[in-house]
């Protein structure tokens, strides 16, 4: 142990390791002993400042002024860490013998061993790059005492790995360490062999965890491998572009679940880590452009037939009939030869007035200075051409033609055979009316992929189809609504990358041609933005799902500024846009209400985004602000904040919030608040590690509301932690069978399949049964990953 405490640690890591590679097993044994000592020795090894007796400085000043290094302290759990080291080798040896004994006939042991093996190499992959960097810093300077200390501390631990690995001739003798981490050199073929558990996992995990693993904790800096290992190292998994690849939305925002320590997960063969497959849609790939164009033609023609319904589908003020035929590419001069048509011609005048009041209120938006100028010039030069830079125009187009597909059916084909798959019937874009009615039908039946497709068709009919991006076009209320629906559904399907691509031509949603004033002939007298407010929210929220929450916050902040400004205008007796329009008190009140709730919605998104960024302090503040705008949601919001604190681990503050909820709901009565209080109590017990009590409270909720999905699911989860797997399964299965329409939820199914995997080796059949149930009830938007049918 002495040498590791010496101050010349820097040089050790590289050289020593190689030395050790050649040592005999005795030495390895020593390493193990060392290891254990390190843990107990604690910080004794750090000598304090060298004090030369003769030069006696006045110490207190030095303390303050000289930058003295902090000393690293070894953490140990010393109080009851027993020191008995006898027999540890014996144990290892025994283990090995067992394994060897079984090696020939007992496949299970083999599996176990192989798991270890591939795990070992997995470790390699992850750590190599880090080591190098660490070593680099160690060499650099002695300022970084902490990193050196780290080296020193962790080193011994690796003692039992490294020698084994670096040993070029890992012969299967009774060298215990060798056996455990059997060097891959001795079994070159194992990597190739389909020992399923590990290989699958390592891939899945690599993809998820590798990028992050490098950053965080400067661990095991001293891992040095023999060159023979480096050959196994895979090139860093290329960040898959995840187009059409739904990511699991299962709470990835908390805890370290994302940064998984892959090492051990591989070993838990029963706990098949969810290796979500990307259900990429073949049609969405760009490698088949011909197919796409032909499809888009098809779409166009089919829409040509359906044009009438398209316009009839919305009985709104804005007539969209004529525009459909407008798609002949035009100069930016908008609609110069077209007469505006009021579709609702039989509407009484009063209704029209009222509508315009509503329109003004809802469509109000404050354009940027630049855009405002363009709009003014359009208004003043109505009959002459206004030239606008192409880059200031919005020219959207479908970026991918068809993401339609049914992952459930694909799985059925794979696991249940063609016959079963034929029975799977879901609506698709062809089977509904080619109109808003059909679109709504698809959405409510949860066939969102088909709905995205139908939106695409309708947009194609509008001239904004595939490959139309970058071509001049005109916008209508309906075309923007269609875009909103399409993009919103893409987000709902977790196809963020796709949504981003198609959002891109819209810029920051402030281009002049997105305002009604740009089309004075089509929308005479109408003002404001064509972009629905919800689309702005969607646009602002999107970057956070693509790993850029800062951009989301920026966008949300801009929205907040405009909403606040509009509210100011209203308070000052002006119209929303700051003009001097007369507004009745009643309408003003309604408008204030609308814009307050919109501002609240922006704050909501901000809070969610901050939560995603794990900036809990700000997130909690933001949720408090939301309460001001949505006072009716106070109990839910306070409970939510309480859960945030639970997630952080701050149980006391969580409890405080839960008590506040009880105070607030005390005034109200009713089932919902009662449930909320019980739910919070259950969560509190969960935070206190008391699963039995938590289960009691969840069950209590079920007594009041037997169909409460959350309570049902959570009670089942508690049962598992109490060691009652069968009971837990019974509860979940019962729930799913009782009301599959509501309970075939991703999270429930995920829990269920996880438990199936824990329960027996025959989880496959049970999962397939779930697939059948899903096939009957769920639309094409179902996220099949939760079934873990891999």
């Amino acid at each position: 142990m002495e040498n590791s405490t010496s101050s010349a640690k820097d040089a050790r890591s590289t050289v020593d390791e190689e030395d050790r590679g050649n040592t005999t097993e005795q030495k390895t044994r020593e390493e193990i002993l060392f290891h254990e000592e390190t843990i107990d020795l604690g910080g004794d090894e750090f000598e304090s400042e060298g004090n030369e007796t003769v030069s006696e400085d006045s110490n207190n000043f030095i303390d303050k002024l000289n930058e003295q290094m902090m000393e690293s302290v070894i953490i140990s759990d010393s109080p009851n860490n027993s020191e008995d080291d006898t027999g540890e080798l014996g144990c290892l040896q025994e283990m090995v013998e067992q394994m060897e004994a079984k090696d020939n006939q007992n496949s299970r042991a083999e599996v176990g061993k192989e798991e270890l093996l591939s795990n070992e190499s997995e470790t390699e992959h992850e750590e190599t790059p880090k080591d190098i960097s660490e070593i680099g810093t160690d060499d650099q300077a002695s300022l970084k005492e902490e990193s050196i200390q780290e080296t020193e501390k962790d080193e011994p631990k690796l003692g039992d790995n490294i020698p084994a690995e670096t040993k070029p001739n890992g012969i299967d003798e009774s060298k215990p360490e060798d056996q455990i981490s059997s060097p891959s050199t001795s079994k070159p073929s194992t990597e190739v062999e389909p020992i399923p558990v590990c290989t699958i996992f390592s891939q899945a995990n690599n993809a998820n965890a590798q990028p992050q693993l490098f950053l965080p904790d400067g661990f095991e800096p001293q891992m040095v491998k023999s060159p023979s290992f480096s050959s196994i190292i895979e090139t860093p998994v290329k960040s898959n572009p995840q187009v059409v690849q739904p990511s699991p939305s299962l709470s990835k925002f908390f805890g370290d679940t994302v940064n998984t320590n892959t090492l051990a997960s591989d070993f838990f063969d029963s706990f098949t880590t969810s290796n979500f497959i990307s259900v990429s849609n073949p049609n969405a790939s760009s490698s088949v452009p011909e197919q796409m164009s032909s499809l888009s033609n098809g779409g166009e023609s089919s829409c040509a037939q359906s044009n009438p319904t398209f316009s009839v589908g919305n009985g709104r003020l804005e007539a969209s009939g004529p525009q459909a035929s407008l798609e002949t590419t035009q100069s930016p001069k908008p609609f110069s030869q077209i007469q505006a048509v009021f579709a609702g011609s039989d509407d009484p005048f009063a209704t029209a007035l009222n509508m315009s009041e509503l329109d003004r209120r809802n469509d109000a938006w404050l354009p940027s200075e630049e855009t405002r100028n363009v709009l003014i010039s359009v208004a003043t030069q109505q009959y002459s051409t206004v030239f606008i830079d192409k880059e200031n125009l919005t020219m959207p187009g479908l970026k991918f033609d068809n993401i339609q597909g049914d992952a459930v059916k694909d799985l059925m084909l794979r696991f249940l055979g063609e016959q079963a798959a034929v029975k799977r019937q879901v609506l698709n874009a062809n089977s509904v009316e080619q109109s808003f009615v059909g679109l709504k039908q698809l959405i409510s039946s949860k066939n969102w992929r088909a709905a995205v497709d139908l939106c695409g068709r309708l947009l194609t009919a509008h001239g904004q189809g595939y490959k139309k991006s970058g071509l001049p076009t005109n916008h209508t209320t309906d075309s923007l609504q269609l875009w909103f629906v399409r993009l919103a559904l893409l987000v709902k399907l977790n196809l963020f990358q796709n949504a981003e691509m198609e959002f891109e031509p819209f810029g920051n949603l402030d281009q002049p041609d997105l305002y009604y004033e740009y089309y004075p002939h089509v929308y005479p007298g109408r003002k404001g933005s064509m972009v629905p407010f919800s689309m702005r929210i969607l646009h602002a929220e999107l970057p956070q799902y693509l790993g850029n929450p800062q951009e989301s916050l920026d966008r949300l902040h801009n929205m907040k500024i405009i909403c606040t400004k509009i509210l100011e205008n209203l308070e000052q007796g002006l119209a929303e846009d700051g003009s001097m329009t007369n507004i009745t008190q009643e309408n003003r009140q309604a408008s204030v209400q609308l814009w307050r709730s919109r501002l609240g919605r922006v704050m909501y998104s901000m809070a969610n985004c901050l939560l995603m960024m794990k900036d809990y302090v700000l997130a909690v503040d933001a949720y408090h602000t939301v309460i001001k705008y949505y006072p009716q949601q106070e109990p839910q919001m306070l409970s939510g904040i309480g859960r945030i604190f639970l997630q952080i681990g701050d149980i006391k503050t969580a409890e405080k919030y839960f008590q506040d909820v009880e105070k607030v709901t005390h005034k109200l009565d009713g089932l919902q608040s009662q449930i909320m209080v019980l739910m919070n109590r259950a969560f509190l017990h969960l935070g206190q590690n008391n699963f039995a009590e938590a289960h009691r409270f969840f069950t209590e909720i079920l007594r009041i509301d037997s169909s409460n999905a959350v309570a049902n699911n959570n009670a089942a989860v508690c049962l598992l932690y109490l060691g009652k797997l069968k009971d837990s399964l019974r509860q979940l299965e019962g729930m799913v069978q009782q009301d599959p329409k509501h309970y075939l939820h991703e999270s429930v199914l995920f829990n269920l399949t996880t438990m199936y995997e824990l329960e027996s080796s025959r989880s496959m059949q049970k999962k397939q049964a779930l697939l059948e149930a899903v096939a009957v009830k769920e639309g094409d938007s179902f996220n099949t990953q939760c079934l873990k049918l891999g």
Binding site: S48, N51, I75, D154
Partner: protein
Amino acid sequence: MDVNQPKQEHLLALKVMRLTKPTLFTNIPVTCEERDLPGNLFNQLMKDDPSTVKGAEALMLGEMLTLPQNFGNIFLGETFSSYISVHNDSNQVVKDILVKADLQTSSQRLNLSASTAAVAELKPDCCIDDVIHHEVKEIGTHILVCAVSYTTQAGEKMYFRKFFKFQVLKPLDVKTKFYNAESDLSSVTDEVFLEAQIQNITTSPMFMEKVSLEPSIMYNVAELNTVDSAGESESTFGSRTYLQPMDTRQYLYCLKPKQEFAEKAGVIKGVTVIGKLDIVWKTNLGERGRLQTSQLQRMAPGYGDVRLSLETIPDTVNLEEPFDITCKITNCSSERTMDLVLEMCNTNSIHWCGVSGRQLGKLHPSSSLRLALTLLSSVQGLQSVSGLRLTDTFLKRTYEYDDIAQVCVVSSKVKQES
């Protein structure tokens, strides 16, 4: 999915799953307004979604618990919990089942099974469940060894085992630093300040429930991590009760030797054990961890035989203008009387005024003398007062005193203006 089906030669299947705390399901809210194309469709979809919070569907953090999706990380001081399930996959009754779970670390082997008794029989499709817990006390490789033995209907004794390996990582980085407060009369320091930096080196936020210093028997400790404001003690860390990954917090403690030890000056000289830090933290849904540092040790400052300390010194002085300081010289030796000569050596910036090499006279043990000295600085800025040498003529030993104090030297103009 033959993944989970190793060769079917054993009648029982052993499954293991680590039980980290469950997580809460988060959903992605997509809303629209009444007047938008979908009408209230999107909002209705969110209402129907069982994972949303009813009445506040746009709240991302739901209430639905989901089981851990992967092994995750395990850190020193945390509790390793695992579900062990042995399931009878066959269609025959199996007898005398014994399930044993051991944890092999690099230094020891622990038995984690709750019961050691054999189960008499296990019917088809039934299982034996066990949840094991173990507080992790070592860093590095751990191997969970699960062994199952049983007897088939035919009376054949069967046995198999499985190994699950995982790494235990270090959650915290702790660094400490001692500051000595000087006492007036003796050479023995009075108070010791301990500054501890605790860094979260995990990948998740960490709530610090307790960070306290358990002093050794010689000391009393006062924690200096709260500020009294309006009668309430407020944490110096404010409302941020948790540490983000890689965040560091600084804790401060003041240690005073207990009366009985303070008197026995000798005890506190040299290396002393100060105490240890006790750290309790919590993470996701109250997952708890606890660590203690090893005994923190400190080298008490040794002042040797002669100690020179400062009584007075101005903080700011004018450039090239003499100023006075008062030093105190103490004979710390136990029984030796000294005869001291003071030498003053100029440095680049500090120039001593007066005669160098003057006799200070005899100094008896444990007595001290005060000495007024004059000096000036020729360089602006923060200057270090150095260059005093005391020579004990009896032993011909010289003691050097450098960097005794710092003064701020300013141009005299500046001083006048201000």
